[in-house]
Symmetry: C2
Subunit: 349 residues, 2 copies
């Protein structure tokens, strides 16, 4: 298995929870990890947890940290020895197959872009985020926030990235790729998405399942939903917001419903926890990969604890071992994508 | 009170539920209504419900209907005597203050644009949709789907439309207007929203509360959230989808949770129905106004029943009586909007 670099200093609970998560990943999946960060803080945690002599765990010292509120581009340039940047360079050099980066999404994207580097032909890497669906699996939304603006070529590339991820990492035989739009007909939406619709119809790399409306994202009818990073990010965060609203309304109904409702809630609670909460808990899948780079990168929530980190390391290992970047690079070179059209579009800019 | 035109032939349950809803609105609020549609179908329903002699109810015959699946623009041109178009012309002529249109959103928007006509200076009318929030009130999302593409001037105008609606129809003293974006800083997002941010900061018609992220929509921190019709429509429908997912997950948890969970659900159900479902039921507010027209227009869900129609008629009456179009027209003429910038932007197209 390829080694996975882990930014041990990123996120709200670093380095403790990150190191604990890495130890768990090593024990559960035997994935070799490289913990990047302040050696004097990481070592004691390893020792305390009996993992300091584990041959699958290496510590790679980095003297700086990029904080959540720093400007990503500036911080990247100024702090050459930041843990997330050092981790990215370990991927670029080939020493590690992927990087797990908790903390600032902006810092992770910047480190990915400049530290790991893009696949030749990919203009803008994209974040893929799993959204739980009614079928009991996940629908993958790409781009969920890496680029605020997109051209047609970027959306087509997002589709390719999402396709290989769904097929190889999630083992979906024939992933259904949908285009996020405001209607189901091919002529619907902005000129941009109408153009992307045409391009996706022309290619023959994957099954284009047509337009996906907002309400269809959680049905499970689509495996991958393609959009620009602005719309994707708004959708993703709105989903969080609606989740919060739902539980607020639920609590409010229990409160107003008197003794009967309170008793009902008490009886129902364990089932909600065991079956419902688990399905919508991001820590179950650990993080969101930034695809389109020459190596793997999984971005984790700033509030990630050990369990999320453990799962993110597993996801990163799968991306590395399935050689997603190579598959994407091949697809971009091939005939199947109607590449001529894409090249033309790029020349227009 | 101004008369409200109601397209009695629109939606899945026309004309029965529409006419029943109109009768209820007349009885509850004493709003005079004009039922537009097939007289031979409408009259018997009025008679059967003892409303045929009510002086507040008029029937205005229209011989055609635009079906849900017709192309709005084509249907509008071909069917001059369609109920929704006839209703729109009653608003244009001043006979009615607003139109309530259940059924095809596209047909309603087209009838609004060409039948009622735009306010001078407004380029693209916008749909405003209430989204329930944690504070127990609604947050108004504008545009939630009238135009698939927007320029900066359109978004600024959406803000003006939303402001007057919130202030006059919803009686919010100092409505907080937010700009939907993917971060809170002023420089975040696409070039389009960054430009709109600057324009909204310059104007002094209303309080610009800054960027609103997707997760902030349901918090209630913003009264009006401004966006383009593409993003707005995706968000709105995704909200529906997430709502459906939650109830699916809830049902699933009850099912898997065994007898204890089933008993809990049984006890909790009445409170959920009474307090939670009511909060997220669109029929409580009836419909979504299309703002920016020279008269009022409230678009109702195709599946609207009498209660939704009753509430939509009340909403339409409030828009008509508060003279929203006049307030908007005045705002566009005034100094407060930094109109010079807006005019410049329009000239660029």
């Amino acid at each position: 298995m390829e080694k996975i670099a882990v930014d041990a200093m990123g996120g709200d609970f670093a380095p403790l929870e990150i190191v604990l998560g890495a130890i768990q990943a090593v024990r559960d999946f035997h994935i070799p990890v490289v913990l990047v960060g302040a050696e004097d803080q990481i070592r004691p945690i390893l020792e305390k947890n009996g993992a300091d002599k584990d041959p699958l765990i290496t510590v790679h010292h980095a003297s700086q940290v990029i904080a959540m509120d720093e400007h990503p581009g500036m911080a990247y340039r100024k702090k050459r020895d930041a843990s997330v940047s050092v981790g990215a360079r370990l991927v670029r050099s080939g020493e590690c197959g992927a990087l797990v980066a908790p903390g600032s999404t902006g810092a992770a994207v910047t480190a990915g872009l400049f530290g790991i580097g893009r696949i030749r032909g990919i203009e803008r890497p994209a974040i893929l985020t799993p959204i739980p669906n009614k079928k009991g699996s996940y629908t993958y939304l790409i781009d969920s926030g890496a680029s605020a603006q997109a051209k047609a070529v970027n959306l087509v590339q997002n589709a390719v990235l999402g396709y290989w991820y769904a097929k190889r990492v999630q083992h979906i035989e024939d992933p259904k790729i949908g285009l996020l739009n405001i209607g189901t007909e091919s002529t619907k939406g902005s000129p941009l998405v109408a153009e992307v619709y045409e391009l996706l119809e022309k290619q023959h790399l994957f099954t284009f399942a047509g337009n996906c409306e907002g309400r269809d994202i959680p049905t499970g009818d689509f495996d991958v939903v393609v959009t620009d990073g602005f719309t994707g990010n708004v959708v993703l965060k709105f989903g969080e917001g609606v989740g919060g609203l739902f539980f607020e309304l639920l609590k409010d109904a229990v409160y107003k419903g008197g003794l009967r409702a309170k008793l009902g809630a008490l009886l129902l609670k364990p089932a909600l926890k065991q079956y419902m909460m688990k399905r919508i808990d991001y820590s179950e899948y650990g993080g969101a990969p930034l695809l389109g780079l020459r190596g793997g990168l999984v971005i984790c929530h700033g509030a990630s604890k050990a369990w999320a980190i453990r799962n993110a390391i597993r996801a990163a290992e799968q991306i590395a071992s399935e050689h997603i970047p190579e598959l994407v690079a091949d697809a971009l070179k091939g005939e199947s994508l109607a590449v001529a059209d894409l090249e033309e579009m790029k020349d227009e800019d």
